[in-house]
């Protein structure tokens, strides 16, 4: 803010000097009374302007000395440039302060889910250990293969934390254990019952229980698998008290599910979840609210109690919790915060309210390769083939658990990732395109103004996986900063990760970022660099170094 003011003043000064110079040159040749009058008027205006500016600055200095927080309030008689350029905010925000994020890029894609919920017949569900980052590749099984389990029954634990359990999403027979690379456990598959049987938990009463009681119960009931921890985006460490807990109540990723729609009918469980979380942190539970939608967010979010609410307005990734943390209370070297998704909070709330492990999820089945994109009611870890049955072709498509930017590619035999609430199916783009770099045959999403896209901002595009070019060294600059609404220099950070410079990584804010936050940078990257992969390598190294 200070710098911007400085620059404005400099430009003013320069303009003044320039006009004086030009006028002086003219008077020496012409020298009519009209010109002279003009000069005098300009000079008077300038002097007046200077007086006002000086006075204006004096007010600012005085305010600072008397302890008014000047970075929040504009004390000047001039409106800030940002105040003039601020977008018109919707009425439902009322007078609440809104964090307006100017940078970002929302990708409009075809295949948005229609707002009705279907319940396809899903026979298999899986608990996928690699979904919980931070645990050993071969966890210790509690349940036996072939045994029957209820929803909420213990399935495995990580050997490093033998008292934190991971539990069955649904009831049924634990039919198989699929192994991945190096004999790691990739999937634990449950053949689901027609009617889900729930294990009954005796949840502690929030009013009387201590934090230790709550944590002990949550370890036992599997609730910690809902919580992710930053930095590094790992499964929550049960031994620490997080500084704050953050929840984003809207998702700006391409084709992301509408969280207002998802929470409908489960508002009470959501609030209960927030109450539980409030007991777990030494700080606050922060909700990020969407001030960019046409209609007001669900009352579950706007009227939530016991939480700190912050409104955000902006393009993707404004809905990412990492971006919101950055603007509310950035993560430093010694900070630990927890994050949850909206439906994770609902599951936690249900566990405490009804004493059952209910990981029912409303997920969005989206993308241009889906016939009739829709919302689906299912449970975490559902089989993707069952979810997409009859709606997705077998060949030439890529199925993604999550969104197109940061999701993971899956086959029909795989399972929905535990924390995901979206499946996106797009076209495999393994085609050659004549002169694709000059005259593309098909329209495609792009931030670049070398395509006429910016003229048709409402156009929705067909997505495919073609890279539209080959990988190159970092050449273009300023591109990542233009789409990342954070005070971070991604290119400098990436370079520090590549050369393993720990001090720089830390200084440049690696703790504040996870893959999904810089996914939009990777999308726009002209050099087709794998930024998410580089960042993950950096995060893993930092994590190992402790």
């Amino acid at each position: 803010m200070k710098l911007k003011n400085g620059i404005t003043k400099l430009i003013f000064l320069l303009a003044a000097v320039l006009s004086a110079n030009v006028l002086a040159a003219q008077t020496s040749t012409g020298g009519s009374s009209f010109l002279l009058g003009g000069i005098i008027i300009t000079a008077i205006l300038l002097v007046l302007g200077v007086i006002v500016m000086v006075g204006d600055n004096l007010i600012g200095i005085e305010a600072k000395q008397s302890g008014v927080k000047t970075d929040k309030v504009n004390l000047s008689v001039f409106p800030n440039l940002s105040e003039i350029l601020a977008p018109k905010l919707p009425g439902y925000v009322q007078d609440a302060p809104v964090k307006v994020l100017k940078r970002g890029f929302t990708i409009n894609l075809l295949g948005e889910a229609e707002k009705n919920v279907i319940s396809p017949n899903v026979s298999r569900y899986a608990l996928v250990p690699p979904n919980f980052r931070g645990i050993a590749p071969i966890p210790k099984l509690v349940a036996e293969i072939g045994s029957n389990v209820k929803a909420g029954d213990k399935i495995f634990f990580d050997k490093a934390n033998p008292d934190v359990f991971y539990v069955a999403p649904v009831s049924g027979e634990l039919v198989s254990l699929n192994r991945g690379a190096k004999r790691s456990i990739a999937e634990l598959v449950i053949l689901a019952d027609k009617e889900i049987q729930y294990k009954t938990f005796n949840a502690p009463d929030l009013n009387v229980a201590t934090r230790d009681d709550l944590v002990a119960f949550m370890k036992e009931s599997g609730a910690f698998q809902l919580i992710r921890q930053r930095p590094y985006d790992v499964i929550a460490d049960t031994t620490v008290v997080p500084r704050d807990i953050f929840i984003s109540t809207f998702d700006t990723a391409p084709l992301a599910p509408d969280q207002d729609f998802v929470v409908k009918g489960r508002e009470a469980a959501f609030q209960k979840g927030l109450d539980v979380l409030n007991r777990l942190t030494s700080g606050k539970v922060h909700l990020g609210l969407n001030a960019g939608g046409k209609t007001a967010p669900s009352s579950a979010f706007t009227e939530a109690t016991g939480v700190e609410k912050t409104w955000f307005h902006g393009e993707h990734p404004a809905g990412n919790v990492g971006v919101q943390i950055h603007h509310v209370a950035p993560i430093g070297a010694s900070d630990i915060v927890w994050t949850l998704g909206v439906q994770d909070v609902i599951t936690l709330g249900t566990l405490f309210a009804e004493g059952k492990w209910d990981v029912s999820r409303i997920i969005a089945l989206t993308g241009n390769e889906v016939e009739g994109p829709t919302y689906i009611s299912t449970y975490a870890g559902a089989n993707i083939g069952d979810l997409t049955a009859g709606r997705v072709a077998d060949q030439g498509v890529r199925i993604i658990s999550g969104d197109v930017l940061s999701g993971s590619a899956k086959g029909k035999e795989n399972y929905l990732d535990f924390h995901d609430d979206q499946i996106t199916v797009i076209t495999e783009g393994d085609y050659y395109e004549p002169f694709g770099w000059l005259l593309p045959q098909k329209s495609r999403p792009s931030l670049s103004k070398t395509y006429p896209n910016f003229l048709f901002s409402d156009t929705k595009y067909k997505a495919d996986t073609n890279t539209h070019g080959e990988r190159r060294a970092f050449v273009v600059t300023g591109q990542y900063e233009a789409v990342l609404p954070m005070d971070v220099y991604p290119q400098a950070l990436m370079k520090s990760i590549i050369v393993n410079d720990f001090e720089k990584m830390e200084g440049l804010g690696i703790y504040e970022l996870i893959e999904e936050d810089i996914a939009i940078c990777e999308f726009v990257c002209t050099s087709k660099q794998p930024l998410q992969k580089i960042l993950r390598e950096g995060l893993d190294t930092m994590h190992e170094q402790g």
């Binding site: 993560i331 495999e428 050659y432 002209t526 794998p530």
Partner: protein, 423 residues
């Protein structure tokens, strides 16, 4: 895919193991015709922006095309002005273009043969694809060379710039100095006697004194004359001689000697603005350069911050020098500096090279401002060398990483402050 060109390409594809060099060359041309069918790897983004480096580079080359057309014309125009024929802008256009083509084509071909040849060879050696960097360098180099440059010097300069300036540092995206400017600076410092003073800016005459004969080859008198005769147009006249009063001096050389008055004795400001003056091939026509620059700004390929701050730097320094006013050159009003020399071309196409410029937005303001300031200081205060942008940009290229370092450091400090306050 069923496309005759595609099928042809697939048929002639050389074996990668047996002849790596051939395959590298083949791959470069194939990817120029067809965007490859590579798809996003699992674990990364699944969808990529339509923009790639080829498109970025090609748009810069497109933005230079107007300069190419005018440059070609202007080589001919200057030649005919020197011999007192077709001195009107619109007369003898076919002759001027033909003369320009004969002059510029060898420069273009040599620059590309040498530059691309080296790029292909390095790419084959390293076993990766040919990168696009030389597309722009190769398009820029002919435009910043004097029209009469000997081919062997050009070839040496390009080889020096590509090998020492780029490949030694690891290829496209890794270089510290702007490649095109490096080629030019090599010419000017390695061959100061061949390329010196006023005598290189006009081509096709044997000397600069009155009565010197024209220097026509078979292409002029044989090839083009026979064509023009067939149409009944005017032809190249090999008996023409240099007219009296012609010097071939550039406006800057004149200004260095006698200030703005000395310039206006020879050239009008309209001439300097539209570009019908002697100079490097592509840098004379300001309106066409501005059009190209606007295209780059509009498409977001070049940084408007650098262009604007360079202009501010020039204006600031210009005003300072005007106030000082110790020499006639210092007295040249700052706005006239925009007419002379190659400020626009240098700032629009050279200073904005993203690899060698500052990478941070704050850094770009500082970087650009100093290019404007240092360039004008070199232009006005340096007695030996009449133009400053080349040196200023190379100088600031060297400083760009330092500027970025401090911008990034300030980000680190800011973060430390924020996170410790919050905690």
């Amino acid at each position: 895919m069923n496309n005759p060109i595609f099928n042809f390409f697939k048929k002639i594809e050389p074996d990668k193991k047996k002849s790596p060099f051939l395959h590298t060359g083949y791959d470069a041309f194939f990817t120029l015709f067809f965007t490859p069918n590579s798809t996003t790897a699992p674990g990364n983004v699944h969808m990529r922006d339509g923009m790639d480096l080829k498109r970025t580079m090609i748009f810069v080359v497109l933005a230079l095309q107007l300069c190419y057309v005018f440059g070609t014309y202007n080589i001919g125009h200057q030649h005919f002005v020197s011999i007192g024929q077709h001195t009107e802008f619109m007369s003898g256009i076919h002759l001027k273009l033909a003369f320009g083509l004969i002059q510029i084509l060898p420069i273009f071909i040599v620059a590309h043969l040498v530059g691309l040849g080296i790029e292909f060879w390095f790419a084959a050696k390293k076993g990766h694809g040919v990168e696009e960097g030389f597309l722009v360098s190769g398009a820029l180099i002919p435009l910043i060379m004097p029209p009469d440059i000997p081919m062997w010097i050009l070839a040496l300069a390009v080889a020096f710039a590509v090998i020492i300036g780029k490949e030694a540092f690891g290829g496209t995206g890794m270089n510290i100095l702007n490649i095109a400017l490096l080629a030019r600076v090599f010419v000017f410092f390695a061959y100061p006697t061949t390329i010196s003073g006023d005598n290189v800016w006009v081509a096709g005459i044997q000397g600069f004194s009155e009565g010197a004969a024209v220097d026509y080859s078979w292409w002029h008198t044989g090839f083009f004359n026979s064509i023009f005769e067939a149409f009944g147009w005017t032809t190249f006249d090999s008996s023409a001689t240099v007219v009296s009063g012609f010097t071939g001096a550039t406006p800057l050389a004149l200004a260095a000697k006698g200030g703005w008055d000395a310039v206006t004795e020879v050239y009008s400001s309209a001439q300097m603005f539209w570009g019908t003056i002697p100079g490097s091939i592509g840098e004379t026509s300001k309106p066409l350069i501005i059009l190209g620059a606007l295209m780059l700004i509009f498409t977001g390929i070049a940084s408007w911050r650098i262009m604007l701050s360079s202009l501010l730097g020039l204006i600031f320094t210009g005003i300072l020098l005007n106030w000082w006013g110790a020499t006639p050159f210092m007295d040249v009003p700052w706005e006239y500096h925009l007419y002379m020399g190659s400020f626009f071309f240098a700032v629009a196409f050279m200073a904005t090279d993203p690899v060698t410029a500052s990478s941070t937005n704050t850094g770009k303001w500082i970087y650009g401002f100093f290019i404007g300031a240092v360039g004008l200081i070199v232009r006005v205060l340096n007695p030996a060398y009449p133009e400053g942008w080349m040196l200023a940009i190379l100088f600031m290229n060297v400083f760009a990483p330092l500027i970025d370092h401090y911008v990034v450091e300030s980000n680190i400090k800011r973060r430390l402050k924020k996170t410790t306050v919050a905690a």
